[in-house]
């Protein structure tokens, strides 16, 4: 610490891996000149869990549960992406009622994710009242998910070939009631983020990203849509129920933090509308169909729209019970570049909100292992890493 302050003129403010602003570990270094940020660097990978490798040692049904645990917030969409990919490989057709239920759960999940984000982002800007209110109201949607799935976080709605549970009439009424309440609350939040003077002082014109920049930096999801990029997998490549119940794109050209707030809140209304529509004309029929344990050889790329943006799955099957390779790319990974390039020129006080503005999810996107000692960076293969680990712990005398 001492040397960094005294040897060169850079004054680096480190945020993370442990920092009150971060709920998950990540490391950010901001070079500051007074309060103004002159450089930013991001280092991730603290919570790499090796899930892709694990998936190769489990069969498809076990993998479904594994992928559901990639993200604690958007658990359903991960399982859906994997299930849909495997169903396509197996060539089975999933009953429409199951697809509709998947869509309802996906949209409920989007509501809960966006409301959670609203609270976190408000907290980063020091607006704790909005944080408390939005999380209080978020309980409504958590309760709805618990009502239909029995779980608040990992709903485990998917099977390969369908869904596990039905939505009966009383559950439908509960969902409609809950959504009416949330609709009214979301209107209030929209009013707050678009009219509160102090809040606008922290969001308006901050972190402005033009449409061109968003496209070059590869931004996805609400972050891209707030910059006017019309990109939504639900429309581009409809999956599960989105072909039957199309969504309306929410776009905003302003590109600043305020736009990211209003885009996400307006997406809530879109989710409410979609859920009401699906519930009003639910297809009848079976909930699941039989899928063979061995999936025919082949490979597939599947994209879905997670609450944070485009989620990418690649599944390769070798004809056995276990996948040959699964590759996951989560939306947060695509959005990091925008943070690093937008940070320069802003105030240090804007950094937490800028970071939160893309709705980052750290443990979902951590993947590559790089070791940085002094100025050397190296990439290790799985085997190298294993050897390194063995040697490391042998030196520590903790390994038997």
């Amino acid at each position: 610490m001492e040397s960094e302050i005294k040897t060169d003129n850079r004054f680096v403010v480190p945020i993370g891996p442990q920092h009150p602003a971060l709920k998950e570990p990540g490391h950010f270094e901001f070079d500051v000149d007074g309060e103004v940020v002159t450089g930013a660097s991001i280092r991730l990978g603290f919570v790499h869990r090796g899930i892709e490798k694990l998936a190769e040692q489990r069969n498809y049904i076990q993998d479904l549960y594994l992928f559901e645990r990639i993200c604690g917030i958007c658990s359903h969409i991960h399982a859906t992406a994997f299930a849909v990919a495997v169903e396509k490989l197996a060539g089975v057709v999933v009953p429409p009622r199951a697809q509709a239920i998947r869509t309802i759960v996906a949209e409920l999940e989007r509501i809960h994710s966006h409301m959670l984000w609203l609270g976190v982002a408000a907290h980063e800007g020091g607006f704790d009242t909005l944080f408390m209110y939005s999380w209080r109201d978020r309980e409504t949607v958590m309760d709805l998910l618990e009502t239909i799935a029995g779980n608040r976080v990992n709903y485990s709605a998917n099977l390969i070939g369908g869904v596990k549970f039905d939505i009966d009439d009383s559950q439908r009424d509960a969902i409609l009631r809950g959504i009416d309440f949330l609709d009214q609350r979301a209107r209030y939040y929209l009013k707050v983020v678009e009219s509160d003077e102090t809040f606008l002082g922290r969001t308006r014109g901050v972190g402005k990203m033009t449409r061109g920049e968003a496209e070059i930096l590869g931004a996805v999801g609400p972050t891209a849509r707030a910059s006017g990029v019309a990109r939504d997998v639900r429309l581009e490549a409809p999956y599960i129920g989105y072909a039957d119940y199309p969504v309306v794109l929410v776009l905003d050209d302003r590109g600043d933090l305020e736009a990211r707030f209003s885009v996400r809140i307006l997406e809530l209304f879109e989710s409410f509308r979609l859920i009401r529509e699906i519930l009003s004309r639910m297809p009848k029929g079976e909930l699941s169909t039989r899928v063979p344990r061995r999936i025919p050889e082949g490979e597939i790329v599947l994209r879905v729209e997670a609450p944070r943006g485009e989620l990418y799955y690649y599944v390769k099957s070798n004809g056995s019970e276990m996948p040959e390779r699964v590759k996951v790319r989560t939306p947060s990974l695509c959005n990091w570049a925008s943070v690093a390039s937008l940070a320069v020129g802003h105030k240090l006080a804007d950094m937490p909100m800028l970071l939160a503005g893309i709705d980052p999810c750290f443990s979902c996107n951590d993947r590559l292992v790089t070791l940085r000692r002094q100025d050397t960076a190296q990439t290790m293969t799985w085997e190298d890493l294993r050897q390194y680990g063995i040697q490391y712990y042998r030196g520590k005398r903790v390994c038997p």
Binding site: H19, D128, T198, G201
Partner: protein, 303 residues
């Protein structure tokens, strides 16, 4: 007698307990405004006892003596300031012409100690926090002082006790000087680094600002100092603008009324960036306070 004034009442032990009580009230009120349950009555005391019992870590690279003594200086000056204000509605323990200025500066010593404590360490969060603390000090201090100057101009004295006595007999000054009251109230919030003026200790940016490296005793003493300052600040504003404090009941009711408003303001806004804070104070706060002073002077001359 003077020993009692210093150690028991109005300084010393009594003020520490009242400070903890008001900290609890403030936290509870903000919590209720935010639809939370909030802490229990003994929480601030429990926090303090816990912190006092903990190990105090002195980080590398600090001036050891300063690190230990700065919190004590801050708390001591805040406690001293209590001697000149009409605590609990009783006449000030000590009084002389000009004690208003001394009190205001004694209250600033805590902020100064905080800034120095932050600058004393090598921690980058502390350094940024110290810079912000001192920047904020320079922005609210002048308007706050000007806002307290209004009543003293009307009465024609620098003595807090006399202003208090005058306020009790005449029309509440909040009616004649509403601008001054608002500036004083918001200035007090800036002084105490309460939201939305909590940029100096914004936890999502710089962890705990100047206090980041403090743990255990030093941290407990700084917090106590702030609690004491809260009580004294409330007393000053109530004595000057809300018709004076002449008995304990008035003290409780009036300070609680201000605290209720302050807690509301705390939960109403998003945190201001430090540049926004400075801009607000110099563009708006100082200007308003000056206008208020001008009005008072003109009225005084005309009468």
């Amino acid at each position: 007698m003077s020993l009692i004034h210093l150690l028991l009442f109005p300084g010393g032990l009594f003020l520490l307990l009242v400070g903890l009580l008001y900290q609890w009230l403030d936290r509870k009120l903000v919590a209720r405004y935010q639809n939370r349950i909030g802490p229990r009555l003994f929480q601030p005391l429990a926090d303090t006892v816990k912190l006092l019992a903990k190990e105090e870590i002195v980080p590398h690279g600090v001036h050891r003596g300063l690190f230990v003594i700065l919190p004590v200086i801050g708390l001591a000056s805040a406690l001293t300031a209590a001697l000149y204000v009409p605590m609990v509605g009783f006449a000030p323990a000590y009084s002389f012409n000009g004690d208003l200025i001394v009190t205001v500066y004694l209250l600033s010593v805590l902020t100064l100690a905080l800034g120095l404590a932050g600058a004393n360490t090598l921690d980058r969060f502390s350094l940024v926090g110290a810079t912000r603390t001192l920047t904020q000090l320079f922005s609210y201090e002048a308007p706050f002082l000007l806002a307290l100057l209004g009543p003293s101009l009307i009465v024609g004295t620098w003595q807090i006790g006399e202003i208090n006595a005058y306020a009790a007999k005449n029309l509440w000054l909040i009616v004649t000087q509403p601008i001054g009251f608002v500036v004083a109230l918001v200035g007090l919030m800036g002084k105490l680094e309460l939201p939305p003026f909590d940029a100096p200790e914004a936890e999502t940016e710089i962890v705990s600002g100047a206090m980041t490296e403090y743990s255990g005793r030093g941290y407990a003493i700084f917090r106590l100092g702030k609690d004491v300052e809260l009580v004294i600040g409330l007393t000053l504003v109530a004595a000057f603008y809300l018709g004076g404090l002449s008995n304990p009941l008035e003290f409780i009711l009036k300070t609680l009324a201000i605290l209720l408003v302050m807690a509301g303001l705390q939960s109403l806004f998003a945190r201001l960036r430090i540049d926004q804070t400075v801009g607000l104070w110099w563009r708006l706060g100082a200007l308003l306070a000056l206008i208020q002073l001008l009005i008072i002077l003109v009225v005084k001359v005309a009468l």
